[in-house]
């Protein structure tokens, strides 16, 4: 299509889209004006029936825990796809000397900052996972913060030490155990409360660490899976960028 034909098409389609959008937006409720029944019912039920003070976590890990199962496995399947695509192919080698050589540019100050970042990120991540039902946070948020902690080693320019600290087998195990654990918690609901993903643990006192039924357990399972998933994807990409080299002297 020539440039002129494309511009003509846009001259017709652009205002048309704008008109439809304006008509659509005019029909929206006013800003901050919520009338749906579902949200109001959920907001009314979370604290009284589930003893959770963070409603977002309560929605994710209890009321709609089954939806979260689907999301978990979307993540799981995409990580599987990434590792499959980025595996070491025939005619390629992993070169371990090249990695440190290529990343030795970071200064002492950056290394010290990374050293301080790692423990604080781990502490924050664990806090977010465990306090999911009480304060903003939860398994997903805490999991990626936990995954970011080893990534700080990368800022310090020591990629191979990241691989020593987080061996592939360990992060794969974390992801698998998290995904399986979440499934089993749902199965616990089926066994002890006769509905898949129905809460089967005592609700406890609202605001205390051990409260909100099985939400903290769900949060830990999701946290493990998300941490493993992000570390697998990052190391898969970084392996390709820093370690994997095409074998020299072999025609491709």
């Amino acid at each position: 299509m020539s440039r002129r034909a494309r511009l003509t098409l846009f001259a017709i389609a652009g205002p048309g889209l704008a008109a439809v959008l304006i008509i659509g937006f005019r029909g929206l409720p006013a800003f901050g004006d919520y009338h749906d029944v579902y949200g109001l019912v959920v907001n009314g039920v979370e604290l009284s029936m589930r003893h959770a003070t963070d409603y977002v976590t309560a929605l994710n890990f209890d009321v709609r825990a089954f939806d979260t199962l689907g999301e978990e496995y979307i993540l799981f399947a995409s990580v599987l796809g990434v590792t499959l695509l980025l595996r070491v192919m025939r005619g390629e080698d992993e070169e371990y000397r090249a990695a440190e050589h290529g990343m030795s540019g970071s200064s002492d100050a950056v290394r010290l900052a990374a050293l301080l970042l790692i423990p604080s990120l781990i502490a924050l991540g664990v806090y977010l996972v465990i306090h999911g039902a009480l304060t903003p946070g939860g398994g997903f948020q805490g999991g990626i913060v936990l995954a970011a902690a080893p990534a700080a080693i990368l800022i310090a320019g020591r990629y191979l030490e990241l691989k020593v600290l987080c061996p592939t087998r360990a992060i794969e195990a974390a992801e698998g155990i998290g995904a399986l654990g979440y499934c089993l918690l749902g199965l616990g609901g089926l066994i002890f409360a006769s509905v898949y993903f129905k809460n089967f643990l005592p609700a406890g006192n609202p605001g205390q660490l051990l409260s909100a039924g099985f939400m903290p357990l769900n949060s830990i399972a999701v946290g493990l899976e998300v941490m493993g998933a992000f570390l697998i994807v990052w190391t898969a990409f970084l392996d390709q960028a820093l370690l994997v080299r095409r074998r020299t002297g072999e025609a491709t």
């Binding site: 976590t57 995954a147 960028a241 095409r246």
Partner: protein, 88 residues
């Protein structure tokens, strides 16, 4: 709508435009990280701290790290490819 929310929306609009208008992919990744931070501010201003927490890590480390690694791999392949053809 509060002033903070209007500022957040404006920052996101400007940031999104800046990402699209940056032509060099490496610089674009940096701008993308800053755009992620404006999104964090937006989610926070609109009372969604849970989403803001995930966006901090996804927007500033998660996505840029993958893009930078890919750019490095592409640059390296383009460096080695001509020499391969010379050898044949």
């Amino acid at each position: 709508m509060t002033v903070l929310q209007i500022v957040a929306l404006a920052a996101v609009a400007l940031g999104g435009g800046a990402v699209a208008l940056t032509s060099d992919p490496l610089r674009q990744t940096l701008v993308l990280g800053i755009f992620g931070l404006t999104l964090v501010f937006l989610f926070f201003a609109f009372q969604a701290p849970d989403v803001a927490l995930s966006e901090i890590v996804v927007g500033t480390i998660g996505l840029p790290l993958i893009v930078v690694a890919t750019l490095r791999k592409i640059a390296e392949q383009e460096r080695t490819r001509p020499s391969d053809e010379d050898a044949e």
